[in-house]
């Protein structure tokens, strides 16, 4: 039985006349790049797999060194324990609110700004755009305190609103959409102008429908960023009722003692929506159709 596959393989790949190294390389059933990429992928997967393993172990096994890689039993009750140890549902809803609101805000406000930068000629446009790009190089830690003070002035400290507000628009989103908008054929917009469409109408009826791939990409990036954001929630949120998942999960981590198995169970649950978003959005990563109306 063990010999079978080898025989089958040699039947499928009968020896070719030896014409040099290039011919021999062609016999690999996969690209040589995979020899490099597969180990890298494995390295990336190790923490994830470890996370899932630990989430199924007892507290004892989770804290042993060297780590136990094959748990004695599958303790799925860790998941319900983690769910009940903290108001997980609450965190989940807060995270969802935070992520969806910032995605919506970014798609809307970045589109508006990006369109202006891409197509409207106004005084100081290019200087303003360079300034905007420069803000991409400022780390969040630098503007953390001023941002906090502004949000405090508005009176949004310790609220989901305060969480969302500073993240409704991003320089990165504006930059990315501007670059994409500039690749769209200008004649489409000119035709729409002649056909009686206003500036805003052109953006919403012509430009955005043709920019779905770019919008999907920006939406996913923003969703991931908001969902995984920890620092800003840590600063602005004090109460459990307004905490998003990442902040809430940290409550499983005590000052003296951490329930690693519960923490990992919670983390696994927190990552499921991300996977879903990725799978659902995949179909938008299709080739742009923006050029098919042109000759």
């Amino acid at each position: 039985m063990s010999v079978q596959p080898i025989a089958a393989a040699s039947e499928r790949f009968p020896p070719l006349p030896d014409t040099g190294p290039s011919r021999r390389r062609g016999r690999l059933p996969f690209s040589p790049w995979h020899l490099l990429l597969a180990p890298l992928a494995a390295i990336m997967l190790v923490p994830l797999i470890w996370m899932v393993i630990v989430s199924l172990e007892t507290r004892q096994q989770a804290t042993t060194f060297p780590p136990v890689l094959i748990p004695s039993g599958l303790h799925f009750d860790n998941y319900s324990a983690a769910w009940n140890a903290v108001p997980f549902g609450r965190f989940f809803i807060n995270s969802l609110l935070y992520s969806l609101a910032t995605v919506a805000g970014n798609l809307l406000f970045c589109s508006l700004a990006a369109y202006a930068f891409a197509r409207i000629r106004f005084f100081g446009r290019d200087v303003l755009f360079v300034v905007l790009l420069a803000t991409l190089m400022v780390p969040f830690q630098v503007i953390l305190i001023p941002t906090f003070l502004i949000v405090k002035q508005i009176g949004l400290v310790d609220s989901v609103g305060g969480l969302i507000m500073p993240n409704l628009c991003s320089a990165f989103g504006i930059f990315m959409l501007r670059q994409f908008f500039r690749t769209l054929p200008i004649e489409l917009e000119e035709a729409a102008r002649i056909d009686g469409t206003s500036r805003l109408g052109i953006l919403f009826k012509i430009v955005l429908p043709l920019s779905l791939p770019a919008l999907a990409t920006l939406g996913i990036i923003q969703f991931m960023w908001s969902w995984n954001d920890f620092l800003w929630p840590l600063i602005i949120i004090d109460s459990q009722t307004h905490a998003p998942l990442q902040l809430g999960l940290s409550q499983l981590q005590g000052a003296h003692f951490t329930q690693w198995n519960l923490l990992m169970a919670g983390t696994v649950m927190s990552q499921i929506p991300m996977l879903l978003v990725f799978l659902l959005a995949q179909r938008w990563f299709i080739r742009s159709v923006a050029f098919t109306g042109i000759k």
Binding site: L188, E190, A191, R193, G196, S198, I206, L210, G293, K295
Partner: protein, 371 residues
């Protein structure tokens, strides 16, 4: 149907020369006006200014009696067909056709009625549910025309609408366009670099070069009496033969061609003879010696390339050099269109005649037509 008037319109882009320079043009009610010129001559810029996509640096544009300089494109009641059609890729043909109407808040039933009407007129009924990406070039072109016509605009602007079609389709669409204009009578401005389109379609043509109007008139007039050397060289295919010559005592001479030029003062001139004006010489009539190099039979006529014993007019230095390299020396290249019966042998020397009233004379300094 109003006409379109341009008064001393100039367009200057940020840096450099004027794209359109002091252009004045009066386009009549329901007229089919062609703007023709080589690429980069400013004809498209002129059209875009009429459309409202560019603002003139100076001058006035009127549609009917209304000055439209400050009127936005959407309020000018014009429609335009773009060179690359600019169909909305995310909409079906039906939605593309109906788009200008929906933008003007026309009732849904009326939109549907007009879309069907235009689709029928242009033979698009079968394609209404398709998207532009699923159409052939000719079909896209018709959809683009339909989208412009559906609104029944006051002025119809076309920017080289046939240039992306293959030769056969272009001939068909040219005829279709002419019929359409005859039926609808919409004031039309049509930009092209193709002189066949210019000659066949236009009520009048405006020849433009370097942003300036060179000549304006019915196609036949422009062909028969070109106003200057540029027009003479641009309109007509193959282009007019232009030779260096002079006028002395009422006689124009270029090489061995001598034609009477009564009343023309003595001057250095350029002598222009259209290839199709040349024919086998008749004794006692003006003629010139023609050394045949290449003969191209086209069936109904033969195009004969060769040289004549005169100097080429208005030749750039590199062309003169090329002529020297080709071993032509001081002979000028010339072209003649002859009947197949008169087909000469390659390498032979023949004498070709021309009627004196078909010889054009241009001022050697300014290039302006003398006669």
């Amino acid at each position: 149907m109003p006409g379109v008037t341009l008064e001393s319109v100039t367009k200057r882009f940020a840096a450099g020369a004027a794209a359109v320079d002091d252009l004045s043009l009066e386009i009549g009610d329901g007229e089919f006006m062609i703007l023709v010129g080589s690429s980069g001559c400013g004809k498209t810029t002129a059209l875009r200014m009429i459309a409202g996509l560019e603002t003139p640096t100076s001058g006035t544009i009127r549609i009917g009696d209304r000055v439209v300089n400050e009127v936005s494109a959407r309020d000018r009641d014009i429609a335009m067909v773009f060179q690359n059609y600019a169909l909305y890729p995310h909409m079906t043909v039906a939605r593309n056709l109906g788009y200008p109407l929906r933008q003007r808040r026309m009732p849904r039933a009326e939109v549907a009625r007009r879309v069907n009407e235009v689709a029928e007129m242009l033979g698009l009924e079968q394609l209404l549910k398709r998207r532009p990406g699923q159409l052939s070039g000719g079909q896209r072109q018709r959809v683009a025309m339909g989208r412009a016509l559906v609104r029944e605009p006051e002025v119809f602007l076309l920017d080289e609408p046939l240039s992306n079609l293959d030769a056969k389709l272009r001939v068909q669409m040219r005829a279709a366009l002419k019929r359409l204009h005859g039926r609808l009578g919409i004031t039309t401005v049509y930009v092209t670099h193709d002189q066949v389109e210019a000659m066949t379609l236009g009520d009048r043509i405006a020849v433009i070069s370097d942003g300036r109007l060179q000549q304006l008139g019915p196609p036949q007039d422009v062909y028969d009496r070109p106003a200057n050397m540029f027009v003479a060289g641009f309109i007509g295919s193959p282009p007019m033969n232009l030779l260096r010559g002079r006028v002395r005592a009422g006689q124009a001479t270029a090489g061995d061609l001598v034609v009477p030029a009564p009343g023309v003062p003595d001057a250095d001139v350029f002598v222009g003879v259209r290839p199709e004006s040349l024919h086998p010489a008749v004794n006692g009539r003006p003629s010139l010696g023609f050394e045949v190099a290449v003969v191209e039979p086209l069936g109904d006529e033969v195009i004969v390339h060769g040289t004549v014993g005169a100097e080429l007019a208005g030749v750039a230095a590199e062309e003169r050099e090329a002529a020297l390299l080709a071993g032509n020396g001081d002979r000028a290249e010339a072209v003649a269109c002859l009947s197949p019966r008169d087909r000469p042998r390659e390498g032979s020397v023949i004498r070709l005649g021309v009627e004196p009233d078909e010889v054009h004379l241009f001022d050697a300094g300014t290039g302006v037509a003398i006669r």
